[in-house]
Amino acid sequence: MSAEKKFYLPEGLPTPRPARTGIDKEFWEATRRHELVVQQCNACKACQWGPELICHKCHSFDLGWRKVSGRGRLYSWVRCWNPVHPALKEACPYIVAVVELPDAGNVRMVGNLLGDPMQNPPFDSPVEAVFEDHPEATLVQWKVAG
């Protein structure tokens, strides 16, 4: 990411807002503190992502949050060339990554892979979370671990 570029993708994309059900309030509060959390069942300790109202393993409704390291594996990534949103007109190409988190039961998260959009990182490369503060919410981005 160049020094003058404030965010990986230009402004104009929608800003995350916690769901009305309250299901992911803690997640978005944690990213604001630059912490990464994943939904975890208080009963059986299974992790799941995205958040759900019930644990898929033991059917407990008692769900909490597990703080994770922010270190993961680059499970898949693609270079996007087609502006699918007006805000992306000048932003292509950009990289969307799917990252697996070994310390949270291998749940996966989606973000952008920071750095040169023409990079070709190997699959399963180690990556780490980078918090990108926007005025109303903090996004979780990823970079190849150095």
């Binding site: 993708l9 929608p14 995205g50 693609v78 087609n82 996004l139």
Partner: protein
Amino acid sequence: MNEYTVNDRVAIIGVGETTYYKRGQAPVPEFRLACEAIIKAADDAGIDVRDIDGISGYADDRNEASRLATALGLKHLGFAGMVWGGGGGGGSGAVGNAAAAVAAGYSKYCVVFRALAQGQFGRFGQAPVTNHVSGTAAYTAPYGLYVPAQWVALRTRRFMHQYGINQEPLAAVAMADYYHAQFNPRAVMYGRPLTREQYDKSRWIVEPFHLYDCCMENDGSAALILTTADRAKDARKKPAYIMAAAQGSNYRHNATVENSSDYASSNFKTLGPRLFEMAGIEPKDVDCAQIYEHFSGAVMISLVEHGFCKPEEIMEFVTFENITAPKGKLPINTSGGNIAECYMHGLELVTEAVRQVRGDSTCQVPDAKIALVASGPMVSPVSDLIVHSK
């Protein structure tokens, strides 16, 4: 006949479609397109459209069954059903629902249809513009992950990585679709052949998908009529008997934010084997296959999960020569499919399977008796259909 209650008890006796248009080019509203296709299918079947008493749809079709029944003056409506979920995953499933309704006696003549007019309504390949996003989309949209091309590409790339697959099988699918469309006057890309050079030079949409690896966006409508095997004897044309039609999904396939338990899957792993068991045949018995190609890369994974080849065999199996009619080992998408005939959310793949087994395809596979349709890889549910002629 076997224990599976639909096998050979129900037949598709008529198919119809409107002119297929490029996106936004239909000169009439979507609802009229639906009416036209249904009337044509009834005519093809040799029945009075007013004798239709069942309506089966998918992909949250906007043209409601009750409005259609009213507008077309159907004498009564015995069955109205919809397959959950958007996209083309419900195409064969809607045939399955219709077949079940016919086998159970809820409907004597059941129509399956799909209608699209993207000029009148929104586009599939573009994101809606909003200031805020919450729920599942909050974890993807702010990162520019919006449309099926992108998440299908993510899964396809993981699969290609796991099995050492290059661009060739993807190119073969796109080239085969365009090749077949050159024989099909209904195809939007009829008269517009594709060269390998054009394919290679075409712009990336999202790697590994070039422009020509992606389905079109179209306006139009397609429909088909199902009835019992007994009534099918009076049909105007050769019936296509249903051997199996079913929906399916892998364990937690639809886990959100790219968390499918089996990520690089077309979501046919549990349905594929079940389908063949219902039909009482094996993959080698299939004469031609219509494999949903929203994006070319999903086709090879669908072929694997239906048992047509192993992942390690893809590079030898999915070649232009092997997948084109009339001589290929397994001709696929013989009308041009979603990429070159029309993106009618895969219902054009079902009408083509019917034409193949009754022998009037524009790209006929010699002596084709059994045709398979795989609808909607990677979405949930997906669905499958096998038809045959006697």
